[in-house]
Amino acid sequence: MSRQGGIRFRYLRRDMVQNKGVNLTLLLMLVLSAFLMATGSMVMERLVGAVDQLFDVAKPPHFLQMHKGEYDEAALERFAAAHPEIDSWLIEEMLGFDGASLAWERPSTGESGDLSSRLIDNLFVTQNEEFDFLIDETGAIPEPAVGEVYLPVGYQQSFDLQAGDELRIRTESGIRVLRIEGFVRDAQMASLLSSTRFLVSTADFEALAAAGGGTPEIIVEYRLDDPGTGADFQRVYEADAAVPKNGQGVTYEQIRLINAFSDGLVALALVFVSMLVMVIALLNVRFVIRGMLTDEVREIGAMKAIGLPDRMISGLYLLKYRAMTLSACLVGGAAAVVATHLLTGGIEDNYAEAEIGPATFLVPTLALSLVYLFVVGICRRVLGRVRRIEVVNALVHGSTLDERQTARRARRQARRVRRGRLDGYRGGNLNRRLAMLELRSEARSWLLIPLVFCLASILMTLPMNLYTTFDSSRFGTYLGVPDSELRVDLQFSDGLDALRGDVLTAMGNDDRLTGVESYANLTYRIEGDEGWETFRVEVGDYTQSTIEYIRGGRPGAGQIAVSALNAERYRLSPGDVLAMRLGDDEVVSVEVSGVYQDLTGGGYTAKMHGEVTADAAAYVVFADIVGGGTPAAIASEYGGRFPNATVLPTREYMKQTLSYAVDSFRGAALLALVSGVAVAALITSMFLKLRLASDRRRMGMLSAIGFSARELRNQVQGNALVAIATGVVAGAVLSATVGESMVGSLIAMAGLGITDLSFIPNPLLVYVAYPLLLIATGYLSTVFLTAGLRGADKSGWLTS
């Protein structure tokens, strides 16, 4: 080792031993940011890899259209023939059974249960031949034998099912039993879609169809030459009047987004949290380095005096931060490998086990390299102050300031103290007054605490607000689902109008229900880029509607409200006039009253005020429950009474649809909470340790002139409390204002139909409990750190 290297190493070792507490805190902060950054990037890489892997094998369609009821197969043939951009296409036939018709049993133990708690559609299908395959746990494309069934992996997790269990299906002609052979991953019907597929053999499919009780549905699926043109293709498809399209249409991009939605958001949340933690760590590093330069200014002066170049002096100090950041990246990276393994268990179950490739190592290495370069860059910048230290000022006055800066500071100080603070004193708490004066004059140094607590507060609040928003029963109203307890869908049935009459009569006479409101779904056509395009409109009375509008308001007479995606597609704003026609009728003009965001029906919907007339394609009825019976029980009762109607307890349904995302957010919120509290405690402790050390002469003097240890403690604790509370309040305000729009725009960029997100926070939790928790954490750390003042050797403060 060279002589210079030896000096550096000895300095490093001495500093590590002498400033254990501060160095350890800094190291922990750096480890935490490196860990979170590496974990976020690794989860993201695993997720993208897993989705890619699944998509490679499963070959999901580039555009799919769901449909229930009769359809014209010849029209689909004609459409396919007319569009050369179609690579291949298929019609997948499906049989839908509701969860209550499905039960499972474990012959070996006699355990059993039913799937009635799952409200999404359970669709029985056979394996496709060309594309859109269901994939088993080994990544293969299974072909079930007669008597076998493959269930979605989600069901395996929810109901703790095993291969070998039996699935019992209640059909109109009795119970049919199939053996669960395994579980399948579904590329196109992932966590956020409202249906899921069961794989059976062709013979069993035909037997189930013949047995009755299932609702036949189809999906028309297309693979295109260019997968990126799904949205354009959808417009072309919807402009064709003859093809079937009364269900949801979904593009390849949407399928990908939906697949990555919840896990991707968690990875994003991790990266977001890690960036905040890194900002906090950098603030600390800056504070510590500046404090160190002040403490060691005489040594620096001496080194400069004997002719050591500035670069070498700052290099001596930089070595420590280089070593710490490098260690933090290594430790954080290693811990991230374990954490990623734990976090991606669900991803592997739902998608695929992504192959380990160069990206698996490159992505976290790149993320950690960025952390290293950024932290060391900031350290280098702060250490640049070494250049400005003047030898004489450093050695004689122990000051990091040059002549001009010293004079400027003295002038500033003189101006500040010219007006006496105490000569007008007429009693009151002198100790408190002194503390406030200290806080004011040392505000720049104390600034670290409000900044850190502000960031910690944002760090804890935003993920929690996101979680409570997605978990709230009101969240549906942001997504186009009215805040009602029951939803009845009437479609694809003969005598639809009679059925609607029966349902409305039954619900109207039911004392347990209130606010029964029915809407008709009509298929209008409006002029778009592709000529007259299909435009689905829900017609009814919206005067009591609870939908949230992001622009404008609910529709009145002669008005229509459109979904955010429709507003974007057709460039509509409130006040615009929209020309549309029903079938071959004359064109009618309606005024756009407002824009709402919608996740239902693929996001392209509209709501028009008007009479609910007969002959609609479908109807929907909403109702609330005023007493007696749970929404699920009443939904099940109506489902039994009207087999051709789909009755759902809306909130429960929303909850299930979003449950995967909600679970992920809960995990992210918890992680953020723990990180926030840990960061708050660590930084407060470190700051006060350094603050008390640099303040010891002042405290020694105050102690000598008669201030007790308790009074000195009160000064520090009071100032810390003010600084902490200021930061926490600022954090809460920023979270509620800027934070909301920041998260909102991030989610809007995901293009899922949510263009504007208003938090539905748990105010007691995030605006009372969280701030109190942070303040208590900071305050307790202060109490702990200042406890030593009582027994301290006060004379030592003056002589050290």
Binding site: L422, I705, L798
Partner: protein, 261 residues
């Protein structure tokens, strides 16, 4: 080392310590800095404590003033035992009955000179601020720093700062004034300035205990004690100081050299 010297006794002694010891256990082996010091300071006396570096002068001062707690022994101030007092009581005693002057003039940068001097006095008598302000005004006038009362602590000279320290220490009308190397950081003209001020305070009746290594400063005292390795090994009565007494310093130098200073 001289043996068998007799500690002078004073009636109504405001300050007395008996068998005072102080051992620092943080070092290995433990360091015994004070090894059984007996000392009495008479009312209105000016006592100088001398000794070589590391002899325990400052430690003695801090233990007598309650800034530090002795390992064993007692300290009485105006008949009240200090070593058994709780921190808050001891702080109160320092506030109302003691004044301090340090080698470095410690002041709060965010207060002007007058506020710094007012601080302990206002704390000691919060309900009597008018009387306190007028007392401080006259002290500043007496010690010649009235014209810099609104100055910040970085705007005045070292001598002015130490005189401000004396004003602050006297503002509470203490029973004893402790000074730890009050001229240690000053040049000779400032040293004279500060010693004149201390002598002035003493002539006003203030009891003064000063630690110093400067024989010229110590010559102003009524009595000098010599500390070696944590014990008082000698003491010399000098009597009242007079500016025209040229032999006093020579006698002290001779005595000190006899003590190996």
């Amino acid at each position: 080392m001289k043996t068998g010297f007799v500690m002078p006794q004073h009636d109504h002694a405001p300050l007395a310590c008996r068998n005072l010891t102080k051992t620092y256990h943080s070092t290995d082996p433990a360091t015994e800095v004070l090894r059984g010091v007996d000392l009495t300071v008479g009312r209105g006396e000016f006592l100088a404590v001398m000794g070589s570096s590391g002899s325990g002068k400052s430690t003695l001062l801090y233990n007598m003033s309650g800034m530090d707690r002795p390992t064993s022994g007692t300290v009485h101030l105006e008949g009240r035992e200090l070593t058994t007092l709780k921190d808050a009581e001891l702080s109160r005693v320092r506030l109302t009955r003691m004044g301090f002057i340090f080698q470095q003039a410690y002041f709060l940068n965010n207060l002007n000179l007058q506020d710094n001097i007012l601080l302990p006095a206002l704390k000691a008598a919060p309900g009597d601020s008018e009387a306190v302000v007028s007392r401080v005004d006259s002290l500043m006038d007496r010690f010649g720093i009235d014209h810099v009362r609104r100055h910040g602590v970085t705007q005045v000279s070292g001598g002015q700062l130490q005189r401000a320290s004396i004003c602050r220490a006297l503002a509470t009308e203490p029973a004893v004034l402790f000074a730890d190397e009050p001229t240690g950081a000053l040049n000779s003209s400032m040293t004279t300035e500060v010693m004149d001020a201390l002598t002035d305070a003493h002539s006003g009746g203030t009891t003064l205990v000063m630690v110093t290594h400067d024989p010229v400063c110590a010559a102003r005292a009524d009595r000098v004690v010599y500390l070696r390795d944590g014990r008082i090994t000698d003491s010399r009565e000098l009597g009242r100081w007079r500016a025209d007494d040229g032999r006093r310093e020579d006698e002290l130098f001779a005595w000190l050299s006899g003590n190996g200073f």
